[in-house]
Each structure stands twice: as structure tokens, then as C-alpha cells.
Amino acid sequence: MSNPWIAIGALAAVAILIPVAMIVVSALLRPRVPELSKRATYESGEIPTGGTRIRFNIQYYMVALLFVVFDIETVLIFPWTVIYNDAVQAVGMTRALVPMLVFIGILVVGLGWAWRNGAVRWVRSPRAQRQKVER
């Protein structure tokens, strides 16, 4: 009788019932005033221009990827610095420091490669330039 799944099932039923009920009730009660501006994509008064299929500049992704490099680095270095003193006492300087230096070294090689290959050079988009001139 005291199956805990009954309570979960009841919760699920309520969770479905409430939003459905709200939609149904509001559909029954609300006045209908169809007008053009209500059908616009943004009801905020912003007039949408152009299509949705725009090409984003690839460099947003480049920056995001470089961010991931630093992000991972930070996530690993923080706990390492916290335990560093204890680790040196427990296993010695070499085993505490060298693996982290190797890790950072590999990341630096990757970052250096990306830098030299122009991943952080913000190239101007010719299309955006053109649009600016036209305006």
C-alpha cells in the first residue's frame, strides 16, 4: 500500500494537469483581438529584418575553444594549489610539481600553435564592412 511510486505518480499527474488546465482556462476566458502586430516574431516592437539563416563568424567558436583550454586548466590547477604543500611533504617536490608543469606545457604548446596560426587575430568580416558602408 505504501508504495512510494504512488506519490511520485500523483505528483506527475498534478504537474501535467496544472499547465494543461491553465492553457485551457485562458483559452476559454481570454478575448480574441487578432491584429497584425501580434503575429510579429517579436511583440516588443522590434521589427525583424532578414532571414534566420545567417552565418556566424567562425571566430566566436575559436574564442570559445580557447576559453575551454583555460577553463580546464583552471579547474585542475585550483585543487592542485590547495593541496600543493601537503603533496610536497608527502611525495616530494618532483612528483608534486613536474606532472603539473607537463600538463601546462602541453596546453602552452596548443595555445602557442593557435596564436601563431591566427586564432586570436580578430579578422574583420568583409560582409559586415560592406553593410556598414551601405547604411
Binding site: V109, G110, W113, W115, R116, N117, G118
Partner: protein
């Protein structure tokens, strides 16, 4: 390490580190000279050859001299099997690097191409040594991610980009299945390391009953099936191999497949020993079904292809089916084989390893011949290869050796590795499985001969216009052919090593 080799334990990682260091050196070289034209391609190929051959030499040396080593609290082991496969991966990488020299001469981002090849090879060497499911997953991802980029390397070629996307989507799906399976196995046993999983299963200390473990094992099979291009995760293989640059197709279909199989051998023999899990989930039955379906589908589909690269891709699926027989016929009992003094299980695994080794040379060689044809712009269909022997007699002879060896004729070591594999399967009492495999081999002889016939007998409609003979691809094709033939007399020596490695694992 064994006293014979006077080195610290971590030196056992040296073959894998050789790949990793080569990848980083290539990145550094590219950072110094990022403009594509200024850095000589010969330097890059040279660095790549040195790195891959260093991995072969180091693993061969450790294989002969050193004992097994456990590193990182047992998550990474360097034993005979891992060294055998690292040597295999190193040889294939060397062939691919040499074969790519002319193939990518006209393209941009050549240093990155080589670095990605070496990062994937690092991952494969790690897969061969991984002794914990977490390490195995990270290593498999390290193989997969560079492979996706390499398949889509010809980025102005629609086929290549499409192949890369398909490979990525199927790969992402099967990675998700694999990691979910790992989580279920961990949930059931509370361990990630292979031997500890086995202990937990043996001690009946399963959380959530045997069902969760069984589902986890099934999903791990899914992950392995993707890497080895076996049914039901084979869909990516024909597309990816056809669209990718031909040397990369060879790399993926031999080295990447070998890495998938070494993972399967290690996981299923060490972590899920048959006598312990047979009540939960009898994985030999799963591999039996997969093996039959994979080899039949691969060979029948290959027989209907019009394009050479696609035919080789489906034949590669078929060969995955043959090697899966080694796991399908596995008994876990240590029963005697038809050979004296060798248990049937180690004979089976050893034969599987030998087939992968021989396959590594003959299949990479065949794809490099396709690379040669693509370099000349010959065309993709069988008819386009008509009468190619007039222009390229040496390469055509090498290709004939590869094809007949793939079919299992005794011109190359493909005959012996298949023979020993069949012997092991018969020793396990599955003679009807051997009959199916023989029917498949006979069918494969038909479609391989079609290409041989095109090369030597047919006359071309329009004469081929061949103005240059690329030295790198030629050297790689000839080297692969020489090794394929030399493994025929040298088979016994290498096979003993492989069977001993399999025996050490069991």
C-alpha cells in the same frame, strides 16, 4: 620493469609517449612556421616517420626484454598484448605517414594533418594499455576526435565533409552508449578497473541485481562495435572510408579497428570473465551473432559495390566479422587446442591478434594503392582501374598480393592468420561457424578478383594519363607488400609471440 631493462617503471609508457611527443613536436614546428608553404613537407614526413618507427622499436624491444608493468594504480598496464598492438599501430602509422607525403602535398594544414594522425595513434596506444573503463573511455575519445577531423580533412570536397559529419554523428551516439554502459557496470560492481570488476562479479557483490550489469555489458559491446566497425554500428564505415583521404581510410580501417579489438579482448577476458558472467549475460553468444551478421553483411555488400574504395570499406567490415569469431568461440575454460601445449582460448586470441597484424599491412597497403590511383586522378570505379598494370606494374603487383592475401590465398600471410583462426574456432567445436566464414571467404575471392582482373586483363577505354610517380606512396605500398609476403615464412615466430601474449592475459 624487468631487471633486464634497467629503467624506471614509467618508461613502460615510452612507446605511447613517442606518439604523443611527435604530435607535440609537429605542432611546435607548425607554430614556428605557420605559413603552409614555408615549412618543408619532407621535414614533417621525416619527423613523423622517426616518431612512428621509434614507437615500433621501443615496443618491440620491451616486448622481447621487459616484463609487464602496472602504472597509475593499475589503470594503465604495459604487457605483451599492449606492446604487440602498439607495434602494430606504429607500423600502420609509419605506412600512413609515408603514403600521405605525396597525397597531401598540394593541400593546406599539412603539419596539423600529421599531428592529428599522431594524436589518434597516441589514443590507440593508450587503448591498448588501458586497464580501467575510465582510462579506456578517455583513450577511445582521443582516437575518435582527431579521426573525425581527419576524415573531413579535404574540406573543399563535399564527400569528405559529409563523411566527417556522418562519422561524427554515429561516433557521438556510440560514445554515449559506451559511457552509459560504463556507468551501469560501475553502478553494479562499484569498480572501474578491469580486475576489480571481475572480483566484484565473482564475489556476487552486485548492486541492483544482474540485470544492470548485463545491460552495461551489452552497451560496452556497442562501444566496441563502433570502433571495430562491426554490426550494428558499421554504418559510418563505408561513408567515412569513401569520403576520407585514402591514407586515412587505411589508418582508420586497420589501426583504429585493431585498437577497438584490443579493448574488446581485454575487457571481455579480464573484466567480464565468462564463468562469472555467463549466468548474467553470455557475451560469447552476442559476439557469435555479431560475428556472423558482420561478416555476411560486409562480404555480401562488398560484392555488389561499383566503387573500389567502397568495396574495400565493406571488406573491412567483413574482416571485423572474422576477428569477432575469436571472441565468439571463446570458452574461458583453458581447454586444450588442436596445437600441443596451447590452450584453445590463447590460440584464438593470438590468431585474432595475428589476423589484425597481417590485416594492418595488407589493408593499409590496399588503401594506399587507392591513394595512388586518387593521386593520379584515375577514378573511383572498377572500370577506371582497367589495365593499370601498363603504367604501374610494381604497384599493381603489390595490390594483387594485398587483394589475394585479404581473400586468404597463400600469396601473403592473410592465408595463415585465417587458417590459425579457423583452427581455433574448430577447436572450440564451432565447425559450422567456420563453414559460414569459408563461404564468406569464397565470396570475397570473387570481388577481390574483379579488381585484379581489371588491373591486369581488361583494356582501358581511354589511356591513363600518368605523368609522375610519387615516391612516398610507392615506398609505402611496396613496404606493405614486402611485409605481407615476409610474414608468410615469418608467421610462426610472430604467432608464437602473439599466442604467448594472449596466454599472459588469460
Amino acid at each position: 620493469m624487468d631487471p633486464l631493462v634497467n629503467l624506471p617503471d614509467w618508461a613502460g609508457m615510452a612507446p605511447m609517449l613517442a606518439f604523443a611527443v611527435t604530435a607535440l613536436v609537429l605542432f611546435l614546428l607548425d607554430s614556428i612556421e605557420p605559413e603552409s608553404d614555408s615549412l618543408s613537407l619532407t621535414v614533417l614526413t621525416g619527423v613523423g616517420l622517426i616518431g612512428s618507427l621509434a614507437a615500433v622499436v621501443l615496443s618491440g624491444w620491451f616486448l622481447l626484454e621487459a616484463g609487464p608493468v602496472e602504472l597509475f594504480a593499475g589503470a594503465y598496464v604495459v604487457d605483451e598484448m599492449s606492446l604487440f598492438f602498439t607495434a602494430l599501430i606504429g607500423s600502420v602509422t609509419a605506412l600512413v605517414v609515408l603514403g600521405s607525403h605525396d597525397y597531401i602535398a598540394e593541400t593546406d594544414y599539412r603539419a596539423e594533418y600529421y599531428s592529428l594522425v599522431f594524436l589518434a595513434a597516441t589514443g590507440m596506444a593508450m587503448v591498448a594499455s588501458a586497464n580501467s573503463l575510465a582510462a579506456a573511455f578517455v583513450a577511445v575519445e582521443l582516437v575518435s576526435l582527431p579521426s573525425y577531423a581527419l576524415v573531413a580533412y579535404l574540406k573543399h570536397n563535399r564527400g569528405s565533409v559529409e563523411a566527417g559529419l556522418k562519422y561524427f554523428l554515429v561516433g557521438a551516439l556510440s560514445s554515449a552508449i559506451f559511457v552509459y554502459g560504463i556507468s551501469l557496470v560501475y553502478g553494479a560492481t562499484g569498480a572501474l578497473q578491469f580486475d576489480m570488476i571481475a572480483t566484484a562479479i565473482d564475489g556476487d557483490a552486485l548492486t541492483g541485481g544482474p540485470g544492470i550489469l548485463g545491460l552495461g555489458i551489452l552497451m560496452v559491446i556497442g562501444g566496441v562495435a563502433f570502433k571495430t566497425a562491426a554490426v550494428p554500428f558499421h554504418f559510418w564505415a563505408p561513408e567515412a572510408y569513401e569520403g576520407a583521404p585514402a591514407p586515412i581510410s587505411g589508418f582508420l580501417s586497420s589501426a583504429s579497428k585493431a585498437a577497438g579489438f584490443v579493448l574488446a579482448f581485454r575487457v571481455f577476458t579480464v573484466a567480464f570473465p565468462l564463468d562469472a558472467v555467463s549466468g548474467t549475460f553470455d557475451w560469447t553468444l552476442a559476439f557469435l551473432i555479431l560475428s556472423i551478421v558482420t561478416m555476411t553483411l560486409g562480404n555480401f555488400a562488398a560484392a555488389t559495390q561499383e566503387k573500389v574504395k567502397r568495396m574495400l570499406a565493406y571488406s573491412s567490415i567483413g574482416h571485423a566479422g572474422y576477428v569477432l569469431m575469436a571472441l565468439a568461440a571463446f570458452s574461458g575454460t583453458g581447454a586444450e587446442s588442436l596445437l600441443a601445449d596451447v590452450s584453445n582460448d590463447s590460440l584464438l586470441l593470438g590468431a585474432g591478434m595475428m589476423h589484425l597484424l597481417v590485416y594492418g599491412f595488407m589493408n593499409t597497403g590496399a588503401f594506399l594503392f587507392v591513394a595512388l590511383a586518387e593521386y593520379w586522378g584515375v577514378g573511383r570505379r572498377f572500370e577506371d582501374y582497367n589495365g593499370l598494370w601498363r603504367e604501374a606494374p610494381i604497384a599493381s603487383a603489390a595490390m594483387t598480393v594485398f587483394l589475394f592475401s585479404l581473400a586468404g590465398l597463400p600469396v601473403g600471410a592473410g592465408f595463415l592468420s585465417k587458417y590459425v583462426l579457423f583452427m581455433g574456432v574448430i577447436g572450440a567445436g564451432l565447425w559450422w561457424l567456420v563453414v559460414i566464414a569459408l563461404v564468406n571467404s569464397a565470396l570475397s575471392l570473387y570481388y577481390y578478383s574483379r579488381l585484379v582482373k581489371a588491373l591486369w586483363i581488361e583494356t582501358p577505354e581511354t589511356p591513363h594519363e600518368i605523368d609522375s610517380y610519387p615516391a612516398g606512396i610507392y615506398a609505402a605500398v611496396v613496404a606493405a607488400a614486402v611485409v605481407t609476403v615476409l610474414l608468410l615464412p615469418g608467421f610462426g615466430v610472430v604467432a608464437e609471440e602473439a599466442i604467448a601474449a594472449a596466454g599472459a592475459l588469460l
